[in-house]
Symmetry: C2
Amino acid sequence: MAKGPTVYHVAERAGVSIATVSFTFRQPEKVKASTREAVLAAAEALGYVPSASARGLARGRTGALGLFAYDYLLDPAHGRREEGLADPDPLSTESLGNEDLRLFPLYVDEVQRGVELECWRRGQALFVGGGNPENNEAVLSDIAGRVDGLAVFPRSVPSEVLARIARRIPVVEVSESELNRDLDHVTVDNASGIRAMTEHLLSEHGMTRLMFLGGMPSSDNDQRLRAFLGTLHDSGLSPANESKYPCGSDEGIAEVVASLCNDGNLPDAIVCATDQDALMVLDSLAAAGISVPTEVAVTGFDGIAAGRVVRPSLTTVRQPMEQMGRTLVRLLLERLDHPEKPPAAVRLPIRLVVRESCGCKAG
Amino acid sequence: MAKGPTVYHVAERAGVSIATVSFTFRQPEKVKASTREAVLAAAEALGYVPSASARGLARGRTGALGLFAYDYLLDPAHGRREEGLADPDPLSTESLGNEDLRLFPLYVDEVQRGVELECWRRGQALFVGGGNPENNEAVLSDIAGRVDGLAVFPRSVPSEVLARIARRIPVVEVSESELNRDLDHVTVDNASGIRAMTEHLLSEHGMTRLMFLGGMPSSDNDQRLRAFLGTLHDSGLSPANESKYPCGSDEGIAEVVASLCNDGNLPDAIVCATDQDALMVLDSLAAAGISVPTEVAVTGFDGIAAGRVVRPSLTTVRQPMEQMGRTLVRLLLERLDHPEKPPAAVRLPIRLVVRESCGCKAG
DNA sequence: TTGTTGAATCAAAGCGCTTAGATATTGGGC
DNA sequence: GCCCAATATCTAAGCGCTTTGATTCAACAA
């Protein structure tokens, strides 16, 4: 545990200069084979591990990328299950509570997984930082000092902080926010996703009374709502109920659903801004004894795993989450190579995924 | 994107020495309030972000921890689903194939999550490195050079490589391997877990013909097998069939189950080394038309999410995975404070989780 | 006034590596 | 045997920060 050996020790032991040691690791082809072996042997014998700090300082690059994986479930708006040994019972797929949701990878988790896999595939070092509501900014600064490029989720960081960091290293944002226009973005075509969904409900199911529900305020959700209203309008329809967006919190959704049930004027379908919202809606409807899709259809957006498991399974628009994570990494690396390229917004394809909750397949 | 401002720029702008700039960030109380504000203002104006490389080099510590999150599913022994937009169908909980497994957080994912949450809670920086079968060792060295302490999963790194790294920084291993005795460990009581499970099957269900199946070779699995045999022995029983452990791969398990079915001599219960093995067994039994738990009981070990969802839901021994991840972090930080403490092995409590697959609850 | 003390600031020496440019070595070709 | 080009190695100057010990300064007691 004593301070580890350095290039100096290795150089001395191998009888070469420290430059040769460095070359041996960084540009082996510049070093004569016999020398190289001597150096490697010395390194091995001493247990030499190069210091990334020193390398980073000398090179002006850390060689690592960062992901700021803000955990929305730690957000005050959401509850956070206390850790523990609970959850022994079989999971009722009839109704997934908010607690149960954490059992499945959520949107951000799947994107994160994509980032990880792509970094690992490339042998890229990856730093994952996590939000910590108290000192978000400090944490973020710290991360920014450790990496060559940073990927962030929308709404996780105030715009001005992001701008400051982006002065120093490339930043890629998931989704496309109207702020931060000078950053690279990875996004999906929210509008055509919701449009496809809405048209499916209108033409395949002959529904006419649709409403839109849910979604924290974000430009993705803006786009989804707008596309929903636009599609209805194109068919000469208006929303069946006042569309509820943004819809503050999970309690907000539960309330809205409860009042719909009480008033007895359920629409034909509730088009939700996200899968999480949709699951919440399913839960609330189940609690009220309303049957889905018989009495009302429900749809989501994202394609998270829980939507495949819940009963009725969730009709949704699938985002290629892993792919998005991989693209984040790609964009950062490209940006590092070409700092002056104009900001890019990569738009990945979505797909309508028809399951039970719209009435298409047998429950 | 021009090389960012440094302490020198900030110092110049604020009209102080670089030492004062450094103190302003690291030991603010040593700096007069008025000076401090001047420095902060200058930093803000310039968009200063301290370089972690330089800090790390100067301090001799990087301030980050590392997790080497070897992905067993990338292991040649397992298949790896091609990324893509597939998986549209409702998930059949009657039978989770290997493909579907990836939809749920697995053992390593949940431990990783625990590590992340604990680091974030403490404002600790975290690197996650991923295995990459080709250049595992290089990747690992790279990470080792970036962090002050490293957590690894068992079998993910050859012992001698681990030893080498441990000469330089503290290393904590998940589970308790008979190798690497000088490292800190986080583990569970495998033996009493399997013992409780086995006794449950014997006394609650009055079964007598049990077999043990699955598990890549590891000391955890050794312990589990030994405890299984020991428990039977204490009751004057022998295994119903030759216990199959280690059981190479998923195909291996499928084969064993198929031959059990063909020979027509199913035991009363199949006690599996891990939940993943158990799910594989359930899948194979379903394929053969054998009903669980009616014709044969199946049990797992770990407590992964998929076990709650599958039908019949899986009776298992639950490890506190998140807690284990958190403990890894705690041990590393403690070790950094007390390098000379003798190696510790923290043994976390397990719990028998009785669900449907043993026959306890209605399917 | 002078001396003393404590607080605030600074100068300067690294930390372990990379890499340009200088130097040494090698091997041909004559 | 000599010269030159190519190859291998080395020297030395940073990279941006932290931190020790020195210095300056202000305030106050004697």
